[in-house]
């Protein structure tokens, strides 16, 4: 697979602030890549350099083989850009807004087709100012799609959406990804990255601090797993469980339903076998039994916890 987006050694400073200090990333064509990070980590700066809005101080940047700083015009015909804040002309209708933009591209999509994609069929003839915030954001997304882009940049596309609107927007993004487009997404929502991305990079203080698939990033797949269940009635303490308490991280926590056993292990399979066969033999039901890996959010918080923010978004 070729890289639709390739960045090496990217640096950008605003005065004294190093917004981006040495970012490398590669997005294979046809994949969805999520850039995660706290406010001020350098997400938007990185994306705006890729879009050609900002000049870089150092590094190599290629989008579809073009340098955004030099070949911006040619690039703009092949990429779609959805900026962080929604902005749409209030006095035009939805269809007019899309038609106005469509004529600017060599091979645009039909406005009505895009209206269907963004689910605004009923509002096609309505003035933009009468749309809700979520609908305006979807129209903004539609403007990013009208040129039938090979690469789509989505900067925090669902910030401020209610849960329903977010699910709808995710469906649109998934559909676009299934059409083979490359999508670079920034977000601070872990579930959004989890739902949409093939690959996730965490950026903090202008650097990529973790990179991987949503299920493996930060050692999620190999890291510690937590096994929890309520202490079975009649047991006095942890010592009576068939668990080598010395070797593992075992603790008893309070919970509204009674004392909760929490065991952290890197080898959950054998541990579960031991506990469950012990319980089955004694005909004990392990209430509240659950096995959890750290969520993407846990990993994210751990990765970014020691990183301050630079104060530039």
């Amino acid at each position: 697979m070729t890289a639709a987006i390739a960045v090496a050694g990217l640096q950008k400073r605003f005065g004294e602030v190093h917004a981006v200090s040495g970012v490398d990333l590669e997005v294979p064509a046809g994949t969805v890549f999520a850039l995660l990070g706290p406010n001020g980590a350098g997400k938007t700066t990185t994306v705006e350099i890729l879009e050609g809005f900002l000049d870089r101080d150092a590094g190599d940047v290629h989008v579809l083989g073009l340098d955004p700083a030099k070949d911006r015009r040619a690039l703009l015909e092949r990429v779609g850009i959805v900026l962080q804040e929604t902005a749409v002309e209030p006095f035009l209708t939805v269809r007019e807004t899309l038609a106005r933009r469509a004529v600017l591209y060599p091979h645009p999509r039909r406005p009505d087709e895009v209206i269907e994609t963004i689910g605004l069929e009923e509002k096609a003839a309505a003035r933009v100012r009468s749309l809700s915030g979520g609908q305006q954001r979807r129209l903004d997304l539609g403007l990013g799609l009208i040129g039938d882009p090979e690469v789509l940049f989505l900067d925090e596309p669902t910030t401020g959406f209610d849960p329903n609107a977010r699910r709808e927007a995710w469906d649109v993004v998934k559909r676009l990804a299934s059409e083979g487009r490359t999508i670079l997404l920034t977000t601070h929502y872990m579930d959004e990255a989890q739902a949409l991305a093939d690959q996730v990079a965490v950026i903090a203080r202008g650097q990529i601090v973790a990179l991987g698939t949503p299920s493996s990033i930060g050692g999620r797949n190999t890291g510690a797993t937590t096994v929890r269940f309520l202490l079975p009635a009649g047991l006095k303490g942890l010592g009576e469980l068939p668990v080598p308490t010395a070797a593992l991280d075992v603790a008893l926590a309070d919970s509204p339903d009674g004392p909760l056993v929490e065991i952290v292990t890197t080898a959950p399979t054998g541990l579960l076998q031991g506990i469950t066969s012990w319980a089955v033999e004694r005909q004990i039901e392990l209430e509240g039994l659950e096995v959890t890996r750290p969520s993407l959010e846990d990993v994210y918080l751990e990765i970014t916890s020691d990183s301050g923010t630079a104060g530039v978004s």
Binding site: F14, R73, L83, A87, V88, E89, F91, R100, L104, S313
Partner: protein, 256 residues
């Protein structure tokens, strides 16, 4: 591509009825006010250029300049500042439309506004204030007002580069225009030997007022086009274009 862009800019403009209303009726309102203040008076002696003309023949073109300047310069600078702050101009720069093409259509939109505005103002002047149209008026007005419209649009674009945010726009834009308006003879003729007039002649407002007055002055012979004044506007237009092209910002000021 540009004709389509122009069409949608026009649609967007005319669908905001309040904005359009004030653009076109402000000059009419001033005509009514000044018409009743100086009802049928003869023009002050400073205008005595080989014969007396009615004061109406002076203040209609003067008020016309006020309308054109607020439609092109004032409103355009405020509109562009608002659009820049809202992120609409950044959207334009995320499309393949060349930036110069966008600004060109913006100037064309101002020319269309100006044509409508001039039509209304002259019609009201002719019907209610006895404005006389000398033979040279039509061509002279097209040349003078056309060049002025482009010039003041270009200045509107250039001044937007110096406006930090939309909240500051009206203060900056009016803070520059209002003093010039008064010293340029927009509301009352000023002697050409006055110090204020000398200062004003270095700025583009007075040349526009003088050229408009000449275009409608029945005592002027020839084309009615004051090339000296028109030339002054063209120089300002060129300056504004250079500043506009070099300094125009498409993105809102960075936060924090």
């Amino acid at each position: 591509m540009m004709s389509s862009e122009l069409k949608y800019q026009q649609l967007s403009y005319w669908r905001n009825p309040l904005g359009a209303f004030f653009t076109f009726f402000m000059p009419v309102m001033f005509l009514v006010i000044f018409g009743s203040l100086y009802n049928n008076q003869k023009a002050p002696s400073v205008l005595d250029a080989g014969g007396a003309i009615s004061f109406d023949q002076y203040f209609v073109p003067a008020i016309l300049t006020l309308g054109v300047i607020s439609a092109c310069y004032t409103q355009l600078a405020i509109q562009l500042s608002n659009q820049r702050d809202a992120g609409l101009l950044k959207r334009v720069r995320s499309s393949p439309l060349p930036p110069a093409a966008y600004l060109f259509t913006v100037v064309l939109s101002c020319l269309i506004r100006t044509a409508v505005l001039v039509g209304i103002t002259l019609a009201v002047g002719g019907l209610f204030y006895g404005l006389v149209f000398p033979a040279h008026a039509a061509l002279a007005l097209v040349v003078v007002v056309g060049i002025a419209s482009v010039t003041f649009s270009a200045i509107g674009i250039a001044i937007t580069a110096a406006i930090p945010n939309a909240d500051a726009a009206p203060a900056i834009v009016n803070g520059i225009y209002l003093p010039l308006m008064f010293i340029s003879g927009t509301f009352f003729p000023l002697s050409s030997s006055s110090i204020l007039t000398k200062i004003a002649s270095y700025f583009p407002v007075r040349p526009f007022v003088q050229a408009s007055f000449a275009a409608l002055n029945p005592l002027v012979h020839g084309s009615g086009i004051e090339w000296h004044e028109v030339g002054a506007m063209v120089i300002w237009c060129a300056l504004a274009l250079v500043v506009g092209v070099r300094c125009f910002r498409w993105t809102p000021a960075r936060k924090g």
